[in-house]
Symmetry: C2
Amino acid sequence: MPEPLRIAIAGLGTVGCGVLALLRDNAALLEQRTGRSIEVVAVSARERGRDRGMALEGLDWRDDAAALAAHPAADVVVELIGGSEGAARALSEAALANGKHLVTANKALLAHHGAGLAEAARRAGCHLGYEAAVAGGIPIVKALREGLAGNRISGVYGILNGTCNHIMTAMHDSVQSGQAREFDSVLREAQELGYAEADPSTDIDGIDAAHKLAILTSVVFGCPVDFGAVHVEGIRHVSAVDIGFAIELGYRVKLLGIARAGEDAVTQRVHPCMIRESAPIARVDGVFNAVVAEGDRIGSALFEGPGAGAGPTASAVVADLVDIASGRVMPAFPAAAEGTPRPAAKPMDRHVGAYYIRLMVVDRPGVLAGIAACLRDEQVSVEAMLQRGRDPGEVVPLVLTTHEAQEAAVVRALGAIGRLDPVMEPPRMIRIEAF
Amino acid sequence: MPEPLRIAIAGLGTVGCGVLALLRDNAALLEQRTGRSIEVVAVSARERGRDRGMALEGLDWRDDAAALAAHPAADVVVELIGGSEGAARALSEAALANGKHLVTANKALLAHHGAGLAEAARRAGCHLGYEAAVAGGIPIVKALREGLAGNRISGVYGILNGTCNHIMTAMHDSVQSGQAREFDSVLREAQELGYAEADPSTDIDGIDAAHKLAILTSVVFGCPVDFGAVHVEGIRHVSAVDIGFAIELGYRVKLLGIARAGEDAVTQRVHPCMIRESAPIARVDGVFNAVVAEGDRIGSALFEGPGAGAGPTASAVVADLVDIASGRVMPAFPAAAEGTPRPAAKPMDRHVGAYYIRLMVVDRPGVLAGIAACLRDEQVSVEAMLQRGRDPGEVVPLVLTTHEAQEAAVVRALGAIGRLDPVMEPPRMIRIEAF
């Protein structure tokens, strides 16, 4: 029997305890699958005394996570501390510098320092595993990097944040049931249910999804992780009335992360999108995550599963440990395909796509003519117009969808429209994605 | 630069040419990803003279596929001949016996001889790659075997045959549009469109799906492939009227393959199912395949993509070649978890589930009482009853759904019901699956 794989775990929150529980419950199965046992030798966490419902006897407890980086008995350090700087970063860099494999669920760390960590892992001949950092329950890193390795990938997109998808789904369902609820109310309920954090900003402002997108981009395009080049918008401004119109137009509203190889750059963006309700990803609801890969051989494939939680995240951490235990140590990110451009922060001004536009206008003759003139002046062509109900003299919503147009032109047209006398609120815009 | 990985390909039909095209088009990318070039050194096919739109110069052509098994320059034999016996089997066994890695897209071969081939590969220290044998465009073997390796899997099920799913989808759409079409007409059209073979029996009788299910069962449970233990029914008897009632009841009809670990055996079955339309797999339409894995840590995850075609199948073949080129050689099937029972041909008589039952009855008072008595006599409890329209004295459909019942009791009740005077046709039954 070969030596056990010995691991040290830093961070014993929900995920850390989930990993301990998995390694304990499925120990025999893992040993049969890898031919070795996977043994926890040391742990570190902030509060030693806390009741975690776990026996920690026999484990070498260190108050200072940094001590695990040089732990003489550990082959692998599992970093579950979180945060892009501080203890997590220091431990991760030190572990690799000491020649230990690193497994992490830390998307912020990877998004900000993935390129450097991958290079450090390469130099040390160590494995940097981060399956748990993106869509925990879906083995998406492995699927993209190995399962679709024969493909030239042109794009990858997905629902990368369960909190946002839960909120979008709840708003959609409320509109469909005739009891429309607005963002703030749904968010508050999500917080009570434990689907959103007390400080929800990282989730609802799109930052968490952007972290994951930056990682996925490097997995499929092989370019260094570049979080700074991601265009990020959250879901705070999506309103029930827009979701209602989306339904009427045959769309669903989702917060998506989208990375595409363009001619001169890989573009990365996270923002609310309208997508055809018949698109497979439109039907991924609740806290689930989903990722779609578009490849030159497969066309497209969709991977759907739980994105967070102790069990799914532990499953992903242990998948990386199984790879290491089985000797499947490989570069963190694949080599870039020849001719693949690097990510670049393409200004959204230059984005070309279709747009949903909602205006609040006074219902009186001639309003549409003025709006149409503003769009014509910017060469933005209208695909459809909707005005439900008539209420002369009152403020009513007027909805337009455009054909493909450059965002700069749409923004200029909306500026002009916003200054029209019968337009009572700043125009709202949601990008339409054709999948 | 390490030595190239040298491969010999047997079979140059659609898939074989797809593999050649992929290896040619994405050669540089594959070399960057694996650190080696992947080089085709020899090929074999039936008709040398056929125009394949491919340059075959420089490749060692062998008229006899068997010659590739001992080809001195080849590290890997790629078997794309097809069929569970004959040339495909002989080549595969000989290649492994000669210490060559084997990659195959041949589900019939794996379903019938997978256990023996896996053992031969183990003895030879060779890789047996078969990602292409199940749901080509979805890297499902890798996802299950490696990506979810930390999970104890309790069940796996999926839409494993694109032809059947295309037919079910077309029938569903026809019913929904009010232009209901029956199986025979849709099959004929599918044949004209190239979605079904001239001899469609392997697909529509569920055999192809059963081949794939038998392989998936071994991937998740680690037991030897046992095709003989799969219960197989096809879709010939699904009629438009049943699809219409399914829609009314909130179900979709799909041909599924389902493998579950029971207490004393792993059961494997392929048959038409009614599934809630809100279940993610219910919405997988057309020629797409999808697989859902249920694990103790992830809950469930769904993988969806193209199941066949030159590009997707070549993508899967090359994923296996990339594993071999990267040194990721591993056992064909994982070790069975301790305590996992082997597959066994559990008679469907002992299946417990809910049932959809359709009867064609003369519309007259008292009919339901007689039917209800037959069900009561077998302790089968009715969940819902539907009789749309009234047409006194005429034959009308009467639909029942049951609570959980043992299939033997349902079958006995249907026998008694079929003998009732006002019941004009043999009762139809479709199993309802609760996902």
